[in-house]
């Protein structure tokens, strides 16, 4: 990737057409069991999510375990088939595309996984798994594959000796770098980072995040960053979507997150984060109860059962995601 390319990426970032647009995305997983493996119900993993990611932007998705953020990430790059809704990439709808038609988009969209231990095939060397992807998409001419792979390994901060080694010879942080190298192997423009640092030690988290920041600016990547850690998201992202039980409850810019958060759930999440200043005290909102079962989501707002600001309307009707001031959207009747 050259400087010209990244300049071009920056230039298009300003344009109005988003690189990725998702509209009304729904994913219900059937639950089978009992006599003749009948469908007994559906896990409502993603419930009508709409979002837009612009070129060069890093959009964070936060939420607690099981809120559907990983499913959203996999839906977006078509690893899972959506039940309903459309995904548009660079102006072209990719929802209904077959295996062959999807190929150019496979090359442009990649994913980084959470667990560096299960995300690498234990029987392939680093060079092996990188070459495989490079050759498949003919990213470079066959004669240049070796040099390209060496370049990739250097780019993610690993030494050249790593080429011939197997994944089990690396530490967690190094393995995550290999995972990043694999995602970059096809020279993509859009990357879904599915909790890329949450399985790592804090010091290693910082290294990997810094690497991703560097790569983002060098290569002009657009990233959908999935995480449960608001601090990491605040540090790394431009915008953040807060998800709860498959719904996006709030979307807001990351700058001055604490002051701007409006949705009671976002505020509770922020409140749960420890503050690194012992003198800075703030009232703590501790949520009671549990997340409702995604098998039988409540009729109204999914957060109504735990919300400190709940009103009658919340229990009967799901609030729409309403535009507030510049780029902020909130789904709450109470604000």
């Amino acid at each position: 990737m050259t400087a010209v390319d990244s300049a071009a990426a920056k230039a298009t970032a300003a344009s109005a057409e988003p690189l990725l647009r998702v509209e009304g995305l729904v994913k219900h997983f059937p639950v089978r069991g009992g006599v003749l493996n009948a469908v007994r119900g559906h896990v409502h993993a993603v419930n009508g999510v709409s979002l837009a990611v612009y070129r060069g932007e890093v959009v964070g998705v936060v939420g607690e375990s099981g809120c559907g953020k990983s499913t959203l990430g996999k839906l977006v790059i078509r690893l899972i088939e959506p039940t309903r809704g459309t995904i548009t990439y660079a102006g072209q709808e990719i929802t209904g595309l077959g295996h062959a038609d999807l190929m150019p988009f496979r090359r442009k969209m990649q994913i980084i996984f959470q667990d560096p231990f299960s995300s690498l095939n234990p029987r392939l060397t680093v060079a092996g798994l990188l070459k495989e992807a490079v050759r498949f998409h003919r990213v470079v001419p066959p004669g240049e594959v070796d040099a390209y792979v060496s370049g990739l390994i250097a780019k993610v901060g690993l030494r050249t000796e790593a080429r011939g080694k197997f994944p089990h010879e690396f530490s967690g942080g190094q393995r995550q770098r290999i995972g990043i190298a694999r995602a970059l192997a096809t020279n993509p423009e859009f990357i879904v980072a599915d909790e890329p640092v949450s399985a790592l030690d804090v010091s290693i988290q910082a290294q990997v995040l810094n690497l991703m920041t560097d790569l983002k600016t060098d290569l002009g990547l657009t990233i959908l960053f999935i995480s449960h850690d608001l601090k990491v998201v605040e540090h790394f992202c431009d915008r953040v979507l807060v998800m709860y039980l498959g719904f996006v409850v709030e979307e807001l810019p990351c700058a001055r997150l604490h002051e701007r958060a409006m949705h009671p759930y976002t505020r509770a999440l922020l409140g749960a984060n420890p503050i690194d200043d012992p003198d800075d005290r703030r009232p703590l909102t501790i949520l009671k109860g549990d997340v409702p079962s995604p098998l039988t989501p409540p009729k109204g707002c999914p957060f109504a059962g735990r919300c400190p600001q709940v009103i009658d309307r919340c229990r009967s009707e799901m609030p729409p995601l309403e535009n507030k001031s510049d780029g902020q959207r909130v789904a709450c009747w109470a604000v």
């Binding site: 996999k74 790059i77 690893l79 295996h99 999807l102 190929m103 496979r106 090359r107 969209m109 990649q110 994913i111 996984f113 959470q114 667990d115 299960s118 995300s119 690498l120 095939n121 234990p122 029987r123 392939l124 495989e132 992807a133 498949f136 998409h137 995972g179 694999r182 995602a183 192997a185 096809t186």
Partner: protein
């Protein structure tokens, strides 16, 4: 380590026999290459295994026949010789009766037992008889004194038959009698060693085919799911609900009378056994690999491969199957033993190996002997099988330990 050594020995012997056998057959058929005749190379062939080397039921395990027994055995051979001489002389009226008597009477009274392989002994008798015929053609010895040296030569030939063979031939001959002979006078040691070939042949073919077939089917079932999975699971559940041995028996029985039931084609005659065992044995690896692939296909490296855009067949072959390799190895060694044991059972029932010796046939043939206290044939077959099975059990145990990620050593 010891177990691996034992397996290596067995494999070496088996492959050696297999190799010389195949080379001979190929040489006979095409004529472009013939195996050089050497006593060591010829020691383990079907012909050697079926050759009569001694009197019936010479006690085995290093016990030599008692002297009076040996004299009795020798006497029976010499009686036969005398009978044949008499027949020849009678058929040729003009033959000199004195010459016939002289030869027939040579030191036969004080005969020591011939320590020769029976075939060798017969050959020498035949040579002597030919010489005798030649003399008889000419006429009476009295009237033709120049015949005397030739008669003396025949005498020497017969005398030399009473001396035990020496050197490599002698060693091989004694080795052949080391575990005794069976009821037809065939060497038990040669038969037991030769049977390694059949065991290895069946073990290798069945284990290889069953593991590959089962693994691919199981992996495909788990990976593609849907009706493929349903079909495969239905197939193996149905097959495994039938008792293994009954199914094997029926399958092999189905082939009797077909082109595979041809005693003159030993390679073809093993096909029913291969087919029957492969049909029942693929279930084990199939089940195990299916379970493993079901686990693997949810792992993130498979999803990463899908995100890159690889086809499903490619992901299955390149990413999923190699990670079940350890299970294939373990299953291979397990099936290898199972195949050998089932071959023995089938042969015992008369459904297995039909040409050449096998441990199962040896055990089957020894049933009437055991009642009479001749235990060396069943003993030899059992001991040979025991060490091979034990070695494979140890190795498959070690494989399991080495490959099992949950195993903490």
């Amino acid at each position: 380590m010891v177990a691996l050594g034992v397996i290596a020995c067995y494999a070496a012997i088996g492959l050696w026999v297999l190799g010389t056998d195949a080379a001979k057959r190929l040489g006979e058929r095409t004529g472009w290459w013939s195996v050089p005749a050497s006593p060591l190379l010829d020691a383990l062939t079907v012909e050697r295994a079926d050759e009569v080397v001694g009197a019936p039921e010479i006690p085995g395990f290093g016990i030599r026949p008692r002297p009076e027994e040996r004299v009795r055995i020798a006497q029976s051979y010499l009686d036969e010789f005398r009978k044949r001489v008499n027949i020849r002389v009678r058929n040729r009226a003009e033959a000199d009766q004195r010459a016939a008597d002289a030869i027939a009477g040579i030191r036969f009274a004080e005969a020591t037992p011939p320590n020769w392989p029976i075939a060798e002994f017969r050959e020498r008798i035949k040579a002597a008889l030919d010489d005798l015929d030649a003399i008889a053609e000419v006429g009476e010895v009295d009237r033709h004194p120049e015949l005397l040296p030739r008669i003396e030569k025949v005498e020497r030939d017969i005398a030399s038959m009473l001396v035990a063979p020496a050197g490599v031939r002698g060693m091989l001959y004694h080795a052949r009698l080391a575990l005794g002979t069976d009821r037809q006078g065939r060497s038990i040691l040669v038969r037991a060693v030769y049977s390694i070939k059949v065991a290895i042949q069946i073990g290798l073919v069945v284990a290889l085919v069953a593991v590959l077939f089962g693994s691919v089917l199981g992996a495909a079932a788990a990976f593609f799911g849907g009706w493929v999975d349903l079909a495969v699971v239905w197939l193996y559940s149905t097959l495994s609900s039938l008792p293994d041995l009954v199914l094997l028996g029926v399958l092999v029985f189905m082939f009797t009378g077909s082109i595979f039931d041809d005693v003159t084609k030993p390679w073809l005659s093993l096909v029913p056994i291969y087919a029957a065992m492969c049909l029942t044995f693929w279930i084990g690896p199939c089940r195990v690999v299916r379970g493993e692939v079901m686990k693997i296909k949810e792992l993130e490296y498979i999803q990463a491969a899908r995100a890159i855009g690889f086809g499903r067949a490619y992901i299955l072959i390149r990413h999923a199957l190699p990670n079940t390799l350890h299970l294939m190895f373990i299953n291979f060694s397990l099936l290898f033993i199972a195949a050998i044991k089932n071959e023995v059972v089938l042969s015992f029932l008369g459904l297995g190996v039909k040409v050449g010796p096998s441990w199962g046939r040896m055990i089957q043939e020894s049933t009437p002997q055991v009642i009479n206290g001749f235990y060396w044939q069943i003993g030899a077959a059992t001991v040979f099988m025991f060490f091979l099975v034990l070695a494979f059990n140890i190795v498959s145990d070690a494989l399991q330990d080495a490959f099992d990620p949950k195993h903490v050593s």
